[in-house]
């Protein structure tokens, strides 16, 4: 088990390095957008990891509400934070891609708006965690996480309908439709590399969360001993 840790770090870093090289230099240049399209590899992969993290947060929160194990709460906290980071990168990279290609930084089309709302929901989850006091944080946050995730399909449906009623320019449309084989291969590779990176981040953040939990109980213990 111990040997697995540095090995997997090595594999992740190597894979990221290789795929970035491929994404920037080896993959074929896209016909209409030119080289700027290469942002797409990082953009979509980051988004994929973000969504995966939010799903993990949902499952971990339910497990916490059911079992009340500190481990599941730590995982919920970790996955939400990593999810916000990766989704944030998705949004930023999307803006940096949209500007040269479509001339606008942002538009309220269905996909962008849904992503933004999701990001806002999980940021508010983190705010709730940060601002709640003491032992109740875990339960309150877990309950809120259930609300957040249940809202996801409703957000998606409502914004899609809104955009059907009031159409807006669709940016980045068709990026996944009919990918040339050269692009598709690099894309899948980047997806795998980013998933490993995301898993690593969640694991590290999870360790930090459990360490902080241990610290808190150590404080409590010391306070008890100190009274004696």
């Amino acid at each position: 088990m111990k040997k697995l840790v540095p090995l997997s770090i090595l594999v992740t870093v190597a894979l990221l390095g290789i795929t970035s090289y491929f994404a920037l230099l080896v993959a074929p240049t896209e016909a209409t957008m030119g080289d700027v399209q290469r942002i797409f590899y990082y953009h979509v992969s980051s988004g994929w990891v973000g969504m995966l993290c939010f799903f993990v947060n949902f499952v971990a929160s339910i497990v916490y509400l059911w079992k009340r194990s500190p481990g599941s709460d730590a995982l919920a906290a970790a996955s939400a934070e990593v999810g916000v980071v990766f989704t944030g990168v998705l949004l930023l990279l999307g803006m940096l891609w949209a500007r040269p290609v479509w001339g606008i930084w942002w538009t309220w089309d269905a996909r962008l708006t849904t992503t933004l709302v999701l990001w806002l929901i999980y940021v508010s989850y983190l705010v709730l965690r940060r601002f709640s006091a003491g032992g109740q944080t875990q339960v309150l946050a877990a309950a809120f996480a259930v609300f957040g995730f249940v809202d996801v399909p409703i957000v998606y449906m409502s914004i899609r309908w809104f955009r059907t009623q009031h159409p807006a320019p669709v940016i980045g449309g068709g990026e996944n439709s009919g990918m040339a084989p050269g692009i598709a291969h690099v894309f899948i590779l980047t997806l795998v590399a980013f998933t490993l990176l995301g898993a690593w981040f969640v694991w590290l953040r999870y360790k930090l969360a459990t360490e902080e939990q241990a610290l808190e109980s150590a404080h409590a213990q010391a306070a008890l001993k100190g009274v004696a």
């Binding site: 806002l120 709730l128 259930v146 957040g148 409703i154 409502s158 914004i159």
Partner: protein, 224 residues
């Protein structure tokens, strides 16, 4: 001790106390009036334009007034340690939640009834679509805000800066409902589209989140 009895008892108690002091209703009313007036300075609509934007303005005003009402939902209970007493009693937690939610719902509906003529006057509103649809949207939309709001108000009382916490955690989750309310109201006022999908979405939202609230309220009440 049935849920219905406890709900009714708690609700009557709250309504009676509110009727005697009229704290919440007065502050909400004045706040909403101020918002209407300030928005009309900002937008200065003609009768034609006003129908396009009125939906958004009305619901923004109601949303802020709702938050004012929600913030004081649990304040009285906290002050007198009623929540602790409730935890210890055999009364079902959902009864307390339902009572609070119905109470808030009634307050906000009364507020909306008082505000509606003001909006009609200030923005020279006349609805092209049928008014009964507006009523349905208002009822469903208000419940959507109030059910999640009452639950999140219970969450936020245990946080620092609880007054600012409530809107921070309520607004993102309410976005689909707000979108539905605003677009449905605009569709009905202008008569340009059918609000049917929005009404269905609001109904789904209401059912789903009422269930989630009822499932989780007891957990949150007993969190310590």
């Amino acid at each position: 001790m049935s849920t219905l009895t406890v709900t009714r008892a708690t609700l009557t108690k709250d309504l009676r106390m509110e009727w005697r002091s009229k704290d919440a209703i007065n502050s909400m009313l004045f706040f909403a009036l101020l918002v209407v007036v300030i928005f009309s300075f900002a937008f200065n609509p003609t009768a034609e334009e006003s129908r396009q934007i009125a939906g958004g303005l009305i619901w923004a005003a109601f949303l802020f007034a709702t938050v004012v009402a929600l913030n004081q939902t649990w304040a009285r209970e906290l002050r007198n340690q009623v929540l602790d007493a409730y935890r210890v009693s055999p009364a079902p937690a959902n009864a307390l939640f339902l009572a609070k939610t119905f109470g808030n719902f009634l307050f906000v509906i009364v507020l909306e009834c008082l505000m509606a003529p003001l909006f009609v006057v200030f923005y020279e509103l006349r609805s092209v679509g049928p008014v009964w649809q507006l009523i349905v949207v208002t009822l469903l939309g208000t419940w959507a805000l109030v059910v999640n709001g009452t639950f999140f108000a219970a969450l936020s009382i245990r946080t620092r800066s609880r007054e600012i916490m409530l809107p921070l955690i309520l607004f993102p989750i309410s976005i689909p409902a707000l979108l539905a309310m605003v677009d449905a109201t605009t569709s009905i006022l202008t008569g340009e589209a059918s609000p049917d999908f929005w009404i269905k979405l609001l109904a789904v939202y209401d059912i789903v989140f009422t269930l989630v609230c009822l499932l989780l309220f007891e957990t949150v009440l007993n969190a310590e």
